[in-house]
Symmetry: C2
Subunit: 276 residues, 2 copies
């Protein structure tokens, strides 16, 4: 095993339809960590999942996902607090936040104000529970229907009023690779202690018709993963690195096969030299 494989975390969504326990078992066998999703956790049961993880000795890097609070109704805030509880119960350090769409009656600006308000309502509770909220900027093609936060700079600005233990950011190569400011953003995120999650997925061309589920296997696209690793590590980050691929073709295959392929691709792209 190369050193880099000790940092491998398999996000369960990469093999979405694979039984969660089997995914945890695969991680246990290979010394990997796992990123979990609320729905499968609820299906297996929160306490039962936590116990299963502990018995297997598999650390959870993040729980996906909460957020969707651009219209920060009491219901939305309540659901996010439940997600914080679930994160704490699983012993995971980080809850990933996808901020949400432009509300029916709003604009992208009002939606961004909603995110600010929601964070201020949730940050104190997150601290109490020992959970870091990780704002994930999504690719701008999702700005209207999924996440109004589109750049690392914006995510860091949103996090700025709060302690780094309360609010951090997700650095996901798939969402950020196009941004000419991404390297400055990574340096800033590190300096401000905000890197709460580091996720990899590749960008393939042409963009698949179903843009939500067209993330490429590592190495299949145009993103220089090694350069991202070097940039993130240069900030002092030493944490696990999740691979999260939403990909219809992967989802159609057996989970163990996808796990093995993804782990090998992870090692491959992160051990070769960064491109010139």
């Amino acid at each position: 095993m190369t050193d880099i494989l000790e940092r491998f975390s398999f996000n369960h969504a990469t093999a979405k339809f694979w039984d969660q326990r089997e995914a945890i078992d695969a991680c246990a066998r290979t010394g990997s960590a796992i990123g979990l999703w609320r729905e499968p956790v609820a299906e297996q049961g929160l306490a039962s999942t936590a116990e299963y993880l502990q018995d297997a000795g598999v650390p959870v890097t993040s729980l996906c996902r909460a957020g969707f609070f651009t219209d920060p109704t009491p219901e939305a805030i309540e659901d996010n607090k439940r997600a914080i509880d679930e994160t704490a119960a699983l012993g995971a350090p980080t809850l990933v936040l996808v901020s949400g769409p432009i509300p029916e009656a709003g604009t992208i600006d009002s939606a961004r104000e909603g995110v600010k308000e929601a964070l201020s309502l949730l940050a104190p509770y997150a601290i109490e529970q020992g959970v870091t909220l990780a704002i994930e900027p999504l690719h701008p093609m999702f700005a209207s229907d999924r996440c109004v936060v589109t750049t690392l700079a914006e995510a860091l600005d949103l996090a700025a009023p709060f302690a780094p233990e309360a609010v951090g950011v997700v650095i996901d190569t798939y969402h950020l690779w196009w941004d000419p400011e991404v390297w400055n953003g990574i340096t800033r995120a590190g300096a401000e202690g905000r890197i709460a999650s580091f996720q990899l997925a590749d960008w393939i061309t042409p963009l698949p018709a179903g843009v939500l589920t067209g993330r490429g296997q590592l190495g299949d696209g145009c993103i220089d993963m090694r350069r991202y690793l070097d940039a993130v590590d240069a900030t002092g980050f030493t944490g696990k690195i999740e691979v999260e691929l939403f990909n219809d073709a992967l989802w159609a295959r057996p989970g163990q096969e996808v796990f093995d392929e993804t782990r090998a691709a992870f090692e491959g792209v992160l051990t070769k030299a960064a491109r010139a």
Copy 2:
């Protein structure tokens, strides 16, 4: 006719399969300007198109498009010089540049260096011909296969080494609307004298499967066109405003119908108050 309709320019791509002369006639009848494309101009003949425009008294706001010089080969530069010649021959002030994809053997960074090099090779020739090259930042979903320039800030940085008469930028609502920095970018573009083209198209949700041809009719999406008008005009810009919609459903309809609808939508979205 309200004042705003005097600023209406119909980009021919909005009714892509409509005969170019019929589109020019429709503009002449309504006191509109037109944005043209190189392929239909070549089909009708450059000199013949220029004469037809002059007889009709229809101004050309821009010629689309050159660029695709992320790998700035002599052939790419030569083609761009021909496009500059065509722009001058049509009496158009502006040539729109779509910078191009990541080349086979390159990275997004090397591609961006290619754009810099190409601009330095073309800017003196553009000045000689009295044509402004307009760098168009495209939506980041096109960053790998169409345009590595994705933000207004980046386009302005690329333009900075050159005189504003040589190199400007395109402000296109469809490509820029998601950017939290867009308002600062518009202010900067105005202050630096770089607004060479102002184009409108709306962002509709969900994103159509063919992302290239899913631009929404004005008012059908989430972009506050009036706010863009106010922001651009606040810089002192008083030029024409092009509507350029790549939309399969529009392309399937009769050109005159699309023209009339688009002109009415233009008036509608630009005369109502900006959203709160």
